[in-house]
């Protein structure tokens, strides 16, 4: 090879690698980490990206150089040099990739084992997934249940998952941790949130018709705020006032993910507007209380026109206790009459 051709090959390689590096650097690839685990994944990500860019630049350089320099004239019927191989080269491009992927494997295994290692004073949260709602319960706080995941910052959290119906998957992009929830077995994932804020909880395993609305929030709070919330909530659920208890049930079961209810500050439009419940009951020709109860326990008994069947989970009849159901029905009736 002439020296000039090596230079131009290198030149193309540097340009190709530069373009790829620019794409890698200019675009916001990984979300800003909000957990120690995500923080450990980031360097691994960049380690792999650098290897990828080098390999990509090499391939593109050789290819572009060949395309521009070895193009045959239209009437050129001659053949190229009959080179059949080169044992040295073949050994090199077997060994170097082997070493590169081995290094990626070792790095990954280290990150994985550190991410799975629990810290001291672990907070345990039991997560139940069902079509199409999450519920988080805190065994340390007498089984307090919430529809949003609230976590204290800088504390090791072990989420243990069960699924009621089909497979779901728990993902918070900012935590970079994901875990499928599988009916019949329990699974778990370890997260150490390190940034206060509100992050989306997304179901990433296709779980049925409402899969794209199976979302909630993970709220990372200061330890003091978290303790305060934990105790305040425990009181609200056991409150004798049905409105306070009903509001807690509404919130904990994520009704607001799909429905509008002004009193609860919910404004989703996947299901019918609950502020119009009296009118809906009239349309169905059923007394209001009976209508509301039936719509929760057996949602397919009457489906409002314009809304698909089978999206509202039919599992609430079993999931809610009788007190919870009564409180929720009373709360919905009183709120919708106000609204």
């Amino acid at each position: 090879m002439r020296r000039g051709s090596i230079a131009s090959l290198l030149g193309i390689g540097v340009v190709a690698g530069g373009c790829a590096a620019a794409v890698a650097l200019a675009l916001p690839w990984l979300p800003t980490p909000a957990s120690d685990e995500a923080g450990r994944i980031k360097p691994l990500f960049w380690f792999v990206i650098v290897i990828c860019i080098v390999v990509f630049a090499l391939v593109i350089a050789v290819m572009l150089y060949s395309i521009t320099h070895f193009r045959a004239a239209p009437d050129d019927d001659s053949d190229g040099p009959p080179v059949h191989g080169h044992t040295g080269l073949e050994i090199v491009w077997t060994l170097i990739p082997t070493l590169l992927v081995t290094s990626i494997g070792i790095f990954s295994a280290i990150v994985l084992s550190r991410n799975d290692a629990l810290g001291a004073n672990v907070l345990r949260v039991n997560v139940t997934a069902q079509q199409f709602a999450w519920s988080f319960s805190y065994p340390d706080a007498k089984g307090l249940t919430s529809g949003t995941l609230r976590l204290p910052v800088n504390r090791s959290v072990l989420l243990t998952f069960t699924a009621k119906d089909v497979i779901h998957s728990f993902w918070v992009p900012e935590f970079s941790q994901k875990q499928d929830t599988v009916p019949g077995i329990t699974t778990s994932v370890h997260i150490t949130p390190n940034r206060v804020g509100t992050f989306p909880v997304i179901c990433t395993e296709l779980c049925g018709l409402g899969h794209s609305v199976m979302r909630t929030q993970a709220i990372v709070m200061s330890p003091a705020a978290f303790e305060k919330w934990l105790h305040g909530q425990a009181k609200a659920v056991s409150s004798p006032s049905s409105d306070v208890a009903g509001a807690a049930v509404f919130k904990n079961n994520q009704c607001g993910a799909c429905h509008t209810l002004k009193a609860a500050g919910a404004s989703a439009a996947t299901g019918p507007d609950l502020d119009t419940l009296p009118a809906l009951a009239q349309g169905a020709g059923t007394p209001l209380e009976e209508f509301v109860r039936q719509s929760i326990v057996d949602p397919n008994a009457y489906v409002q026109k314009g809304y698909p069947r089978n999206v509202m989970p039919a599992t609430y009849g079993k999931a809610l206790s009788k007190q919870e159901l009564d409180a929720l029905v009373q709360y919905l009736i009183s709120s919708s009459k106000k609204g």
């Binding site: 045959a72 494997g105 970079s176 929830t181 019949g184 609305v213």
Partner: protein, 644 residues
């Protein structure tokens, strides 16, 4: 057709003695489909009535047995795929050298049971292109819905059905059988054989395909809607939580899978036993090597998906509990069995493409394949390693966590043989005499796009990164870079490359190049941004998504419509060139492999005399080198008459 047809006697089926309703063909297929369907219906009703299972008219088992099992068998029998075997079985006189259903003289012959591997190859390709277009249209509907956040056009059942059927058609009815079609045409020619080892089995394999495709598509019109659980069919969503449409998927996969297995067996026997004298394994073209290794994968792996779909269907229809956790089943068991097929399936969908690219690059670079033996050995390495990586699809599934690191290591190692292939192709074009005809453009396009898909695959192999991007649009981007940038580009390369040999006419080079550039640009604009939205937090298989992804999704949707439109150029080129393109010479690309040494299209039995292979198929630039010695063919004379 030619003088060669006269050499072989006309078989008993053309005697015309039978009533027209009894002739093998579409009329008989019609009434036999109905008859078999009615039989299945009656059988279920009878058994349910006899066993006093109420209600007697339970539609799920009725539709399964009558429409999805019996009626297709009736169709196949009516069309005549079983005629020879049936005649043999009942003791009627048969002639093993009956060639009455061999070769095609008019377009009508393509709609009959034909035992000619060249006709079957074209039947495969035309059928798969039809399903490619249908599957592509479904994808465009998905993109239309995704152009804006919120739901616009489709209810959730229909939307989930759209992407599920899209993937199923593209995988089971396009990529896998399109490769089988190209190989069906090329492999026997390249081996110097007159046909496949089992021509009647070959015909049956083809006719199973339209059944599978129509089954998957028709699930849209059954009550309850299409199967809406993704092409992976994860249980229990796809077993106990789905309408009747899920059974159409379970059963469609069985027909397509049976077709795959039969074809693979056919290839294995053909390649092992029917190589021309002198064609040692180390003299086989890499396309043959690629189909040999692919067929090994198919025969070992495909029974696993068949099993997984049977179990899932039994759970759905017969209330067994293989995967039903409520009754002691194990939901993850499905995933292990499914991926034990479906990861090797990734290589089933890629290795034949490697073979095509090796042929195209050697011919259009005018150089021998660099490191031929290592190229063949790396195919074998992929086969072996391919069976040890399935659980990398399950890093977040909840399977035993100790499985993750070993599966990561095998997954990363499989990049090594793949890398060897990429570097060897680059070394092949290095200092060659490159001719940029359409097949070469698609081969080089494949090379650059597959590198991106391969590298994102290495990222996915690293468990902690995989945990972050599992089930997001990053996965969607990755699989489209390997299955579209990889497989589909090579299928296009193969179709343009063998078009002159198949049809006897040249395609329009300008339109071919236009097609390549439209696909190349449209493909990248469509799929590259998906890496970004996935990494940032957009899950896959959703109709609705966070508003922050709205702009990128609108961009992706617009690009996808452009990509879809490029197919019109391809179709126009193929159809007009097939009808009225310039007559192709026998060897337009100056290739050395055997298929280019016979006329275009080849004579009905390929070679007048079986050729003698004397050297490697890629000796470009070696003075006086020969791959094979062919007897001066009678078909040459005919060629001289038809080609002015």
């Amino acid at each position: 057709m030619t003088a060669t047809t006269v050499d072989h006697e006309v078989g008993p089926r053309s005697s015309g003695a039978r009533h027209y309703l009894l002739h093998a063909g579409w009329i008989r297929a019609l009434w036999m489909t109905a008859l078999f369907g009615a039989f299945g219906f009656g059988l279920v009703v009878l058994l349910r009535w006899w066993g006093d299972w109420q209600p007697v008219l339970n539609w799920t088992p009725l539709v399964l047995v009558s429409v999805l099992v019996c009626a297709p068998l009736g169709f196949l029998a009516g069309l005549g795929t079983f005629d020879y075997w049936a005649a043999y079985a009942i003791g009627s006189p048969t002639r093993p050298d009956d060639h009455s259903s061999h070769g095609a003289t008019s377009w009508k012959d393509y709609f009959k049971v034909n035992t000619d591997h060249k006709v079957i190859g074209i039947q495969y390709l035309v059928t798969t292109v039809v399903f490619f277009i249908l599957g592509g249209m479904l994808a465009l509907l998905v993109r239309a819905e995704l152009a804006k956040p919120g739901t616009q056009y489709f209810d959730p059942q229909t939307y989930n059905g759209l992407f599920s059927v899209h993937a199923s058609l593209m995988i089971f009815l396009f990529v896998i059988p399109a490769f089988a079609g190209l190989a069906n045409f090329a492999v026997p020619l390249m081996l110097g054989a007159a046909d496949m080892a089992f021509p009647r089995l070959n015909a049956l394999s083809f006719w199973l395909l339209p059944i599978a495709g129509i089954m998957m598509l028709s699930s849209f019109v059954v009550p309850g809607g299409a199967f809406a659980c993704g092409w992976t069919g994860y249980v229990p969503l796809c077993s106990t939580h789905q309408p009747l449409g899920a059974v159409f998927f379970n059963q469609g996969v069985q027909w397509a899978g049976a077709s795959s297995i039969m074809t693979a067996l056919n290839f294995l026997v053909t390649i092992i036993t029917m190589r021309a004298p002198g064609m040692t394994f180390w003299r086989m073209p890499l396309l043959v090597w690629a189909n040999f290794t692919t067929s090994l994968l198919v025969v070992v792996a495909t029974p696993f998906i068949a099993g997984s779909q049977f179990f899932s269907m039994f759970d759905h229809v017969m209330h067994t509990a293989f995967f039903d956790p409520g009754n002691g089943g194990y939901a993850l068991g499905y995933q292990h069995i499914f991926w034990f097929y479906s990861h090797p399936a990734v290589y089933i969908m890629m290795l034949p493409g490697f073979g095509i690219v090796s042929e195209v690059i050697a011919v259009f670079s005018r150089k021998p394949i660099f490191g031929y033996r290592l190229m063949a050995l790396s195919l074998m390495a992929i086969v072996v390693l391919g069976f040890s990586v399935w659980a990398h699809h399950m890093f977040v599934s909840g399977m035993a966590s100790y499985l993750r690191v070993p599966m990561m290591i095998t997954t990363l190692l499989i990049a090594v043989p793949t890398g060897i292939k990429i570097f060897s192709w680059l070394a092949t074009i290095w200092e060659g005499k490159l001719h940029f005809n359409t097949p070469m453009l698609f081969a080089l396009g494949f090379l650059s796009m597959f590198v991106i898909g391969g590298l994102s695959g290495v990222m996915l192999g690293a468990v902690p990164i995989d945990i972050h991007v599992s089930d997001t649009y990053f996965i969607v981007a990755h699989i489209h870079y390997v299955l579209f940038g990889g497989s589909v580009f090579t299928i296009f390369a193969g179709m343009y490359y063998w078009f002159p040999k198949m049809t006897g006419r040249m395609y329009n080079e300008r339109l071919g190049k236009l097609h390549f550039w439209l696909v190349f640009v449209g493909f990248n604009l469509t799929f590259f941004p998906m890496h970004l939205v996935g990494m940032e937090g957009m899950p896959r298989r959703v109709a609705d998504y966070a508003p922050k992804f709205a702009n990128l999704n609108m961009f992706i949707s617009l690009a996808s419509f452009g990509l879809g439109a490029s197919t019109i150029v391809f179709l126009y080129n193929m159809i007009t060139s097939w009808r009225s393109g310039p007559i192709a010479p026998s060897n337009p690309w100056r290739g050395m492999t055997l298929e280019w040494q016979v006329s275009s299209p080849p004579p009905i039995f390929n070679f007048d005399e079986i050729p003698q292979v004397v050297g490697s198929p890629y000796e470009y630039g070696v003075p006086g080198a020969q791959h094979a010695i062919l007897a001066p063919a009678r078909s040459k004379e005919i060629e001289e008459v038809t080609v002015p």
